[in-house]
Amino acid sequence: MKIKAFFRLLLCSAALILFAACTTGDEDEVPVIDPVSTTFMGDLVIDQNDGTTYTDKDAKISVNYDTENGTATMIFYQVKFAERMPIRLDMTVSGVSYTVNSSNITIAGNNIVPYAMGGPFVDYTITNLSGTVTGEDMTFTMKCGPYPVSFKGKAF
């Protein structure tokens, strides 16, 4: 008898614990992507505005988050924007706003003057920047000067 009573008590305790766990989970355990600086590698596709596109394969872009002022800096490493372009450039896009969501981070920006070749690169001002970052993937679109640009890459 004592043993049966002990098992009943044990089952009741377990049921109570499970119930309590279900009620608190609904309030606190929303999945969140941490804004951790990450470098992505993928295809950077540039619309040449002549009906063709140029793809810079294996382009490297890092996103570095400044959690204090809530902006991110995107650094494009040795990227090329056109086939005929004889050089590759490092380009820095600062002041990108970001929002941490439950399953991703969204990035956005408009009228940002990128920094390249030792100074501000006004002719290639970034507009309509919009994209998402998950743990492993980043996609975004933007206009770099007059050229529409899209990127899809994986964490490097």
Binding site: M85, P86, I87, L89, A116, M117, G118, G119, P120
Partner: protein, 784 residues
């Protein structure tokens, strides 16, 4: 003043050595001089004390490792003694070379550029192909080779690798210089010479014995010339020169066994030089010398040698210790055009310490001496520490043409209206080097006499450690007009240490057959070794590339073909040692009762990793040593000395060299079958001298000399597209001697032959250095 005192002190200390030995009688009967003292063969036949030529002719120099008479050795050599040296105006190893077969030392640039070519081997940079010994002291740095040589009793060259006995950098042979010794000659000599181009020289020397045991000599020379070429840019003399040297020698012979020799020499030269003319490949003509930045060379060198020679009766023990100091500075308008492109300064400071011990059996003269085995053992050590500052200054035109144009051409393809600009009109690329080198070796040579046949075998184990500690850096301000409103400071730097070690076995084998008084025949196989090193002259190019790469990196701009990333600086600047196998047969012949001496030799040299000075393609500013895959050299030498009639003597020397690449591809072109550049295919020298004696009261001696030199053909580049054809130079002198005085009229290149002595490329332009035009003068000498 300190060194003479030290020398005398050392002599005094060594006077404590025993004065008599158990084999003193043998020493008395032995003809080869012990130490750097000189003995005189059959002194009773020497005409008089004031006949210095006669003394020098019969004097026996104290060879450390060779026989006194090179013609008794299984090698091809040339010996010229005092009288011929002075009559032929030989006062440098370059002058000497023009009287010896297959040895070519072109006269160009300045006294730093002592390029030596012998039997198809040689290069104009870094380590020489031939070793130089003055009074048994080795000169390790080629920068000091072109020294003032006066009161020289004997000069000789031993062709073919002498690496078994002499080690590194004797792959082509060695040159020995023996100056007058106060133990042989006592008296004073004065001379004054004046020639065209306001060239003059003064010499004074005195040789004395202080008692029977000490000999003391002191002397010096001074010279000056306006030079033979003008720089059209400013109308000034281009190759002017002023310099002088001094020599103090104390020889102490406390007894018949021991000789202590101290020699201290000092020299200084300050000169213009570098009479380089731009070559137009379209017209095939050279323009006059015309460049804007001052070029010149200054050198101060000191050397001290201390040798001990001990005669142990059946053996000889020698020690030669030397210290050398060289401080020089070369300044160049490196583009050699009127443009302000870039200049180079190369200031070196070097200390060298060498030590050689030789322990050998005594009787090594002749292969019919009855001795079965003659042997020689040696151990040597050297340490050389060179420090160099070599800043390259880029000037306005150079910045524009060599750096910015190249850089902006790339940028313009993406941004046509944007430029990189430098704030400075001039900037320096500083390069500092420390290059300590040390080495050690042990060697042995045995000589077996079996009747008329002598077998010689030798082996040396040579170890060498070479380092280069480099630091190259530059700072400037730049601006990219598209994005940068202001100039930004930019620094680029390259530093590191490179090290190399070499262990080389250097064998030698020869067989000689004696023809008695008729001479001998020989065959020799020997291995030669020339040390590897580092291309310090490439650093301005390396740092230029590094600077372009770093600057583009600073801008965040990348070209695919710029920068040093991806390769090792060490691999670019280091070059490997050069090795050769020399196969030689020859003979020394005496005919007509000794009136005709003929020396002949045939050689074949198989050389791997031959060191070549090349000019990198494009608008590069430096030059570099590289290793050619393989070369082979076939040639012959013929020397003839004949007394044609009473007082009429002819000396003839001819050398032929056919040196070709058997495997050399520089990545752009295959040079197999092409001739090795800078090597003359033919060298010909002839000297006819007629001497009259006792011409009444007017003169005691009158001699006429006619000299001829022919050199060529010489290819100037690996592709063999440029060459200097065979050319001829006529020389001559008239010499009159009366009592204590002598007067000589002399001339060189009397036909004023126009020829090129040197070729090089800088910033994509080709340049030639012309040979000196006609030279003539008069020399008044006095001997007391």
């Amino acid at each position: 003043m300190l060194l003479p005192i030290i020398s005398l002190l050392i002599c005094t200390i060594f006077s404590a050595f025993p004065t008599e030995g158990i084999c003193a009688d043998n020493v008395e009967n032995f003809n080869v001089a012990v130490g750097t003292d000189y003995a005189v063969e059959d002194a009773g036949e020497v005409p008089a004390r004031d006949s210095i030529e006669a003394l020098a002719e019969v004097a026996v120099v104290a060879q450390l490792k060779q026989k006194n008479d090179l013609r008794m050795e299984p090698l091809s050599g040339t010996t010229i003694k005092l009288e011929a040296l002075e009559r032929r105006q030989i006062s440098s190893i370059g002058d000497f070379a023009s009287h010896t077969p297959n040895l070519y030392i072109p006269d160009y640039g300045s006294k730093i550029t002592s390029s030596i070519y012998i039997r198809g081997l040689g290069s104009r940079m870094d380590n020489p192909a031939v070793g130089l010994y003055v009074d048994r002291m080795p000169y390790l740095n080629k920068n000091g080779f072109d020294a003032d040589l006066w009161d020289v009793m004997r000069m000789e060259v031993l062709r073919g690798p002498q690496s078994t006995l002499y080690g590194r950098n004797t792959i082509g042979g060695i040159i020995n210089v023996y100056t007058l010794s106060p133990m042989v000659y006592q008296g004073s000599r004065f001379s004054a010479s004046y020639g065209n181009a306001r060239s003059y020289s003064l010499k004074a020397s005195t040789y004395n014995k202080l008692g029977e045991k000490v000999g003391l000599s002191i002397g010096g020379n001074f010279y000056s010339t306006d030079g033979f070429f003008d720089n059209e840019y400013d109308g000034r003399d281009c190759d002017w020169m002023i310099g002088g040297s001094g020599r103090l020698r104390v020889v102490y012979k406390p007894n018949s066994r021991l000789t202590v020799d101290n020699t201290f020499t000092a020299g200084h030269v300050d000169q213009g030089g570098y009479a380089y003319s731009l070559y137009d490949p379209v017209t095939g003509t050279t323009a006059p010398v015309n460049y804007n930045d001052k070029s010149g060379y200054r050198r101060t060198n000191l050397s001290y040698g201390l040798s001990f020679d001990y005669d142990g009766g059946s053996y000889l023990l020698s020690s030669v210790t030397t210290w050398q100091y060289l401080d020089d500075c070369m300044k160049l308008d490196q583009d050699f055009t009127p443009k302000s492109m870039f200049t180079l300064m190369q200031a070196q400071n070097e200390h060298t310490l060498t030590q050689d011990f030789v322990f050998k059996s005594k009787e090594r003269e002749g292969n019919l001496s009855g001795r079965v085995w003659n042997w020689l053992n040696g151990a040597t050590f050297f340490y050389k520490n060179m420090k160099m500052d070599a800043p390259v200054r880029f000037k306005k035109d150079g910045i524009e043409e060599l750096i910015l144009t190249n850089m902006n051409n790339g940028i313009h393809t993406a941004f046509p209206d944007a430029d990189v600009l430098f704030e400075e009109d001039e900037f320096d690329i500083f390069s500092n080097f420390k290059a300590p080198v040390f080495g050690a070796a042990i060697y042995h040579q045995s000589e077996f006499n079996v009747g008329r046949v002598t077998f010689t075998a030798g082996l040396r184990i040579d170890y060498e450690h070479a380092e280069l500690d480099y630091h190259s850096h530059s700072a400037l301000h730049y601006r990219f007009t598209l994005t940068m409103p202001e100039f930004k400071r930019f620094v680029t730097e390259l530093k590191g240490v490179e090290k190399r070690d070499y262990i080389e076995p250097l064998p030698k084998l020869s067989v000689q057959y004696s023809l008695g008084s008729m001479g001998n025949l020989y065959a020799t196989v020997s291995r030669g070794f020339k040390a590897g090193g580092y291309n310090t002259q490439m650093f301005s190019d390396i740092l230029q590339n590094q600077m372009k790469s770093d600057l583009m990196g600073d801008l965040g701009v990348y070209f695919d073909d710029v920068g040093t990333a991806g390769y090792s600086v060490g691999e670019i600047i280091a070059y490997k040692p050069e090795y050769s196998w020399n196969y030689e047969v020859g003979g020394h012949f005496n005919w007509l009762g000794g009136r005709l001496e003929v020396d002949a030799a045939l050689f074949y040299i198989d050389c791997t990793d031959q060191q070549l000075t090349v000019f990198p393609s494009g608008k590069t500013t430096g030059r570099m040593m590289t290793n050619a895959g393989r070369t082979r050299s076939i040639g012959a030498e013929l020397s003839l000395n004949v007394n044609l009639a009473n007082g009429l003597d002819l000396a003839l020397a001819y050398g032929y060299t056919n040196a070709q690449f058997t495997n050399y591809n520089n990545g752009i072109e295959n040079f197999k079958g092409k001739y090795v550049p800078y090597v003359p295919q033919n060298t010909l020298s002839a000297n006819l001298q007629y001497t009259l004696y006792s011409l009444g009261r007017v003169v005691d001696k009158l001699s006429f000399r006619l000299g001829y030199n022919g050199i060529g053909k010489i290819y100037w580049n690996e592709a063999n597209t440029l060459s200097q054809n065979f050319y001829s130079l006529l020389n001559g002198s008239i010499y009159a001697h009366k009592g204590k005085f002598s007067l000589e009229l002399w001339g060189k290149n009397l036909t004023d032959t126009d020829y090129n002595a040197f070729y090089f490329v800088s910033v994509g332009n080709a340049f030639f250095s012309k040979g000196k035009p006609v030279q003539y003068g008069v020399t008044l000498s006095m001997e007391l």
